[in-house]
Amino acid sequence: MSASLEKGVRVLKEVIDAPIASYFSSCVHCGLCAEACLFYTETGDPKYTPIHKLEPMRRLYEQEYTLLGRLKKMVGLSKPVTDAELGEWQELVYNSCTLCGRCSAVCPVGNDIVYMVRKFREGMSASGNAPDGIKGAANRTITIGSPMGVKLPAVKAQMKHVEEDYGIPIPLDAEGAEYMVMLSSMEIINFPEYLGAIAKIMKQAGKTWTLCSTAFEATNAGMQIGNADLARVIVSRIVEGAEKLKVKTVISPECGHAYTALRWEGANLVGRPFTFEVKHIIEVLGEFQEQGLLKTEGFETDRLTFHDPCQLARRGGVIEPQRKLMKMVAQNFVEMPDAGYMNWCCGGGGGASAIEEGEELRLEAFKVKKSQLDAVRPDRLVTACANCRIVLEEGLEHYQMDIPVIGLTEMIAEHIPDQTKSEGA
C-alpha cells in the first residue's frame, strides 16, 4: 500500500461515523437517488448514481467496521481499496457531484448521501486524489489569499472605484462595525457591482459595516476538495478578522459554498462556537426588508425567474427571503418547475466549476437547467451566487440561450433611490 493510500484510508476510517454506518446498512439499492441527480438524469449513465459514488468508502466501512466484513477480509474474500480505484473515483466524487444534496432529499430509507460524499472527499484529498483544479484554488487561497489569486491591492483598487462611482465611502478595518462584509474572488473580478450594491444598501439601512484587510475572501476551496486542515486555515482567517474588528455579524457574499463553509462548517472546523453571527447577504436583506430598512422604488417589468443556489436553499435553509425580495422589485416574477427546496443545481457547485476536465459533463448536466428555463421562458435569470452565475452564463451561452444572468443584491440596490439620506447612523 502506498503511503498516500495509507493516509487516505486512515482519514476515511476516521470520518466514518454512526450516520455513515447507518446509511450504508440501510441502502436497498432501489436507485431512486439516481433520479434526483442531474448527472444521472441528463446522461442516463448509471455510474452517476449517487450511492455508487461512495462504493470504495462503503467497502472500507464493511471491511473495517462490520463483523462479517472483517471475517471476509481475514479469509481474503474482500476486495481491498486501491490507489487506482480511488483515482478512477475522482470523476465520480468531484466532477460529477456538486454537493447539491438532491439525492439526500429523496432516498426512501433516509440516507444523507451528500453528507457521505463530503466525508469521502476527505479521504480522496488525503490520498492525493483531488482534482488539480480545486487543489490549485485551495493552494492559492492559502498562499495568496484567494482562489483566483486576488490580493488586497486589487480589493483596494475596487473600493476606490466604487467610492468614486457611488460617492459612498467603503470602510476598511473599521473596528466595532455591526457587519463585516465578505467577498468572493468572482465578485472582485467579475461582478464589481456587488460592492457598490452593499454600500448603497447599508447606507440606506443606516448600518455600520466594514471590509477586513486580512479576511476579505469568503470562498473556501479547502472545504470543496475535502481537506479539513486547509479549510480550517481559511476559516480561521475570517474568525480572527471578525474577532479583531469585534463585529456582530459576518455577511457571506452571494456564494453558496462560502456560506456553507462559514455558516455550518466554520465553527466545527475551528473547534469552538463563533462569537459572531454568520448570515448570507440574502438573509440580511430579508431582515432589512422585514424591519422596513430596505426601501425600493420602481419595478423591473420584464419576465424574471430565480435560480436557487443549492447551498443557500436546500443545504442552507434560506428559501423564502429571496422570493419576498424578488417580489419587492419585480412585477413579472415566475417560478421554474422544482424551484425552491428542490431546485436543480447549476452543475458547477462543490468546486466542480474549477475542474477543467469536467466541463463537457457540466454542459451535459446543464440540460436540466435548460428544460427548467424552457418551461417558463424568462427574459432574465436572477440568482444569489457568483459561482452559479458564471456557470449559468457558460451553460446559456453553450445552448445559445439569450438570457442575461443577474445577482439579486445588485438588482435590489438598483432600486434604491440615489439620494436617500442615511437614517439612524
Partner: protein, 219 residues
C-alpha cells in the same frame, strides 16, 4: 428424518437457533453501527417547524413530490409488497397464535381468504420489482449477489406459506415445515444483509433529519 421429525425440528431447535441468531445479530449490528457515534455540531442552529429527525422518520415514508412519476414501479411495487408482507405476517390467524404463544399478546386476525389474496398480491408485486431490477439500468447496475439473495429469502416464506395453505405440490406437513424453515433462514440472514434496513432506516432518517434540521431544512 421423516417429515414429522423435520417439522418437529423446525418448530423446536431450529426455531430456537434462528430466533437466537436473529436477536443476537440485531443487537450486535445495532451496536456495531450506532456505537461509532458522531461529532457534536457546534455551529449555531436555526430552528424551523417540521425540521427534525422525528419529522423525517415519518415524512420519508411518503414519496417526495414528483418522484412517483419518475419511478412508479419502485413506489407502487414497493408499497404494495411492504404492506402485503405486513398483512400476511402479522394479521394471519395462525401467525397471531404463534405470537401469542411466544409473547402472550394477541390481536384480531383478517379472514383467511383476504390473507390469501394479500399473499398473491405480495408475490406479484415482488416479481414486478424483481423484473424492474433486471430491466432498469440503474437498478441492474447497483445489484449485487445480495440483492438477488435477499429477494429470494424474502419471497420463499410467502410462497411456501401460501402453498401450504393451498395444499399445493407437497403434503401439508412437508410444506409447512419448509415454510417454517424458510422463515428461519430469513431471520438468520436479516441482520447481516440489506434486509437490516428494516431496523436502520429509522436511524438513517433520524440522522438525516437531525443534521439538516440543525440548518433549518426540513428534509
Amino acid at each position: 428424518m421423516n417429515e414429522m421429525q423435520f417439522l418437529t425440528w423446525v418448530r423446536g431447535d431450529g426455531l430456537d437457533y434462528a430466533v437466537g441468531i436473529f436477536l443476537l445479530g440485531v443487537i450486535w449490528r445495532l451496536i456495531e453501527i450506532y456505537s461509532l457515534g458522531r461529532k457534536k455540531d457546534i455551529s449555531a442552529s436555526r430552528s424551523v417547524a417540521g425540521a427534525s429527525g422525528w419529522h423525517t422518520i415519518f415524512r420519508r415514508s411518503l414519496p417526495p413530490e414528483g418522484m412517483v412519476k419518475k419511478s412508479p414501479v419502485s413506489y407502487i411495487g414497493g408499497y404494495t409488497f411492504h404492506i402485503g408482507l405486513f398483512i400476511v405476517v402479522f394479521l394471519f390467524a395462525p401467525h397471531i397464535m404463534l405470537f401469542q404463544s411466544l409473547f402472550g399478546l394477541s390481536w384480531p386476525a383478517l379472514p383467511s381468504q383476504f390473507i390469501d389474496l394479500a399473499a398473491v398480491v405480495t408475490m406479484a408485486a415482488m416479481v414486478v420489482v424483481l423484473v424492474d431490477r433486471i430491466n432498469k439500468p440503474v437498478k441492474r447496475y447497483l445489484s449485487t449477489f445480495g440483492d438477488w439473495f435477499t429477494w429470494t429469502v424474502t419471497f420463499l416464506p410467502v410462497l411456501t406459506g401460501w402453498m401450504a395453505v393451498q395444499h399445493l405440490l407437497l403434503p401439508y406437513t412437508t410444506m409447512l415445515a419448509l415454510h417454517i424453515l424458510s422463515v428461519e433462514i430469513l431471520l438468520v440472514v436479516l441482520p447481516f444483509t440489506k434486509l437490516f434496513h428494516a431496523f436502520t432506516l429509522f436511524g438513517s432518517r433520524w440522522y438525516n433529519g437531525t443534521v439538516n434540521g440543525h440548518k433549518g431544512v426540513a428534509v
